[in-house]
């Protein structure tokens, strides 16, 4: 069994998904684990898109923080060389129109066909969706990063999502601290890799969804 802190898990997942990114390409990073991916990108030819209106997101030193320059999580960011600003409608034209190469998103649940739920929890007020639905329909590739199980240990990879789905579109790959899955053309989950320290038994035990081994 793995005995990492939550933070270590998150960084390990971010580092692994970063390996999938090969430039030149544009990538939208969601909030949470996806934000960490920027720290591990090795290719200089990757342009980060943030839906609040910037292509060319980079990190920022404390002394250079500008309150009017933030990412979608409202965290301060920097402006990369060759960056461009645009309004919200153009930003989502890039997303919905299929011009953004990849989106890396968090998820609350993933079903065994790669359909995800990441915007609402039943029984609570549905108060926010942001850009999640647009990214799901529009990004050429969608990569999901999440911890393999919820806080109470219950699986997040399920036969069916019990939370409201974000889109009927299946994602392309799922990255957890235990395993990497891809979604096949006929919408099945296939285990492609065990993460360091994980065993197939542990993955089986903590996954409700059927998957091809």
């Amino acid at each position: 069994m793995t005995t990492m802190t939550k933070q270590e898990m998150q960084h390990m997942i971010a580092q692994r998904v970063a390996k999938e990114l090969k430039g030149p390409m544009s990538v939208n990073l969601g909030i949470g684990i996806p934000t960490l991916v920027a720290e591990y990108m090795e290719d200089d030819d990757i342009y980060l898109h943030t839906e609040n209106g910037l292509l060319g997101v980079t990190d920022v030193e404390e002394e250079d923080i500008d309150p009017n320059l933030v990412n979608a999580g409202k965290l301060p960011v920097g402006e990369a060389v060759g960056a461009a600003y645009f309004n919200s409608s153009e930003s989502f034209a890039m997303i919905r129109g299929g011009h953004v190469d990849a989106a890396i998103l968090g998820a609350l649940q993933v079903d065994e066909h790669g359909v995800i739920a990441n915007w609402a929890v039943p029984g609570k007020n549905i108060m926010g969706v942001g850009g999640a639905m647009d990214l799901l329909v529009g990004a050429k590739k969608v990569y999901v990063t999440m911890t393999h199980t919820s806080k109470d240990g219950s699986p997040k990879l399920l036969k069916e999502c019990t939370y409201p789905i974000t889109s009927t579109r299946s994602v392309d790959m799922i990255f957890t601290e235990l395993a990497v899955f891809e979604v096949t053309e006929d919408k099945q989950l296939r285990l492609v890799e065990l993460m360091p320290g994980a065993t197939i038994e542990e993955v089986r035990e903590k996954t409700e969804a059927a998957f091809i081994e």
Binding site: S88, G128, T166
Partner: protein, 228 residues
């Protein structure tokens, strides 16, 4: 001709109870903080506010919310202000939640004289309930209506006195769209210059969209919102 007004109170004379008001900003970033502050002092009620968020708790539009002046909110992410959930639970406010790209495009469509448009975003989800579905070239779409306002309150970086606008970094967001989609468009800026001083190639909002310009007196800094 100058569209410049000396005070935010004078600028907001055209706002009345029951209006639909488009308010720029992504949270407090790019929000017209001076005009929002003035609106909190004005005796109005029953407003419909179209904005990505309803501010933060007790800040920006959050103040207007707590004053009970907002009847309905249309936006994509109300989670950033916990008071919105409380008001909604208590039945004191109506909410319409839209995906962020749909919110933006509906305002763009409203400004461009369209009645609405079909989008793939949201198809098959809870947010598609009650919306017309139509297949186009084998792909399912849902119909989204355009959004227009009585008034738009927006934030830009610089204006010339005609109303040409340029924006600043990610404070642009919804502002240029909202500038096109309301009967009366009121903008606050950091600096007002003479016509000819803005490079025409760099103007983002051409002046015919803009009605009233004021200088910003409440600005977002690293230390939060401050009066200048």
């Amino acid at each position: 001709m100058t569209k410049r007004k000396q005070s935010s109170a004078e600028a907001l004379e055209l706002v009345k109870s029951g209006d639909t008001i488009l308010v720029g900003g992504f949270g407090l970033i790019g929000a017209p903080l001076t005009l929002i502050d003035e609106l909190t002092k004005k005796d109005v009620a029953g407003l419909t506010i179209v904005s990505n968020n309803l501010g933060e708790s007790g800040k920006g539009l959050g103040i207007l919310l707590n004053q009970g002046k907002i009847k309905k909110g249309i936006g994509s992410y109300f989670t950033s202000n916990r008071d919105v959930g409380d008001k909604y639970q208590a039945g004191e406010i109506e909410l319409e939640l839209l995906p962020q790209g749909t919110l933006a495009e509906s305002i763009r469509a409203g400004g461009a004289g369209l009645g609405g448009y079909y989008t793939t975003t949201g198809v098959g989800t809870d947010l598609a309930k009650g919306k017309e579905e139509r297949e186009i070239d084998g792909v399912p779409y849902i119909f989204e209506k355009a959004i227009r306002g009585d008034v738009a309150l927006i934030r830009a970086h610089k204006a010339d006195t005609l109303g040409n606008l340029v924006y600043y970094k990610t404070a642009r967001n919804f502002n240029p769209l909202m500038a096109t989609a309301a009967k009366t468009v009121i903008v606050e800026v950091d600096e007002i210059v003479e016509p000819g001083e803005l490079n025409p190639e760099e103007v983002v909002t051409p002046h015919l969209f803009v009605d009233v310009i004021i200088e910003a007196k409440q600005v977002l800094t690293k230390e939060g919102v401050v009066s200048v």
